[in-house]
Symmetry: C2
Subunit: 149 residues, 2 copies
């Protein structure tokens, strides 16, 4: 049985917990070949890098793998609504379609906050599908933060 | 004669042209010691990485150097108004004060576009001083793009 790219993103989120990182996972898939190009989870604390969100790491890895700073035919699967930083990076990378899990009222930048893709100055807007496996994705985060308290 | 951190950011912007990169430079300085912690210029094309903006590279280098994902006592000097991605990264990194050069009506995210630091969901707002050496900074960009045509 083949694992779906979104399920792989959830597996990445689960793996983040081993590193005591916020459980968020991201996967980039080439839409034509349906090959996984990159996968990553949050590494901000381990790498001492506030930009090391799952989406940023997945974009950088995919660009490196494909030898291009633009990922025209690629889709991203991520367990949480991207923050404004990641949303803008997704636009810069020309991601074709964005699938995300839980909505993030406090920190999201796609359907919440600055709604990056709706800005007049946003030059590339991916198609957006939110709320994938929403409860599973949100529960991973809730459980992580409950254990921190 | 000591070079000012903003002058150093301009020198970084000029250096970007050698790599055929958009001339934008960024410097991070520890505000207490006045020591330069990092300096960088745009490397998106050379590194095939759409996230390799001067500000992102400077933040990552500064965090690595100081061994912390947060730069509480640091100021950033950058030749162009940061884009939304970089503005959000500046907030995440807890940069104390942001000095920038030219305003960027088309792509900026501080005084233009989503105005990241003014969003209700933005948890850390640096002090912002825009328009430093505005003409010099803008002319570097104008000249670069004129030569491209």
């Amino acid at each position: 049985m083949t694992i779906s790219p979104f399920q792989l993103a959830i597996e990445q989120a689960k793996a983040a917990r081993i590193h005591d990182e916020v459980p968020i996972g991201a996967v980039i898939m080439d839409a034509a070949s349906r090959k996984i190009v990159s996968s990553a989870h949050n590494l901000t604390e381990s790498r001492l890098d506030p930009t090391a969100h799952a989406e940023m790491l997945a974009i950088r890895e995919a660009c490196h793998t494909l030898g291009s700073p633009r990922l025209h035919n690629c889709d991203m699967y991520v367990t949480l609504e991207p923050c404004p930083m990641c949303a803008q990076a997704i636009s810069f990378a020309r991601i074709r379609r964005l699938y995300f899990g839980a909505y993030d009222v406090k920190g999201g930048g796609v359907e919440n906050g600055p709604r990056i893709f709706h800005q007049a100055t946003c030059h590339h807007r991916p198609e957006v599908i939110g709320g994938m496996e929403e409860t599973v994705c949100a529960d991973l985060l809730k459980q992580f933060f409950a254990e921190k308290r």
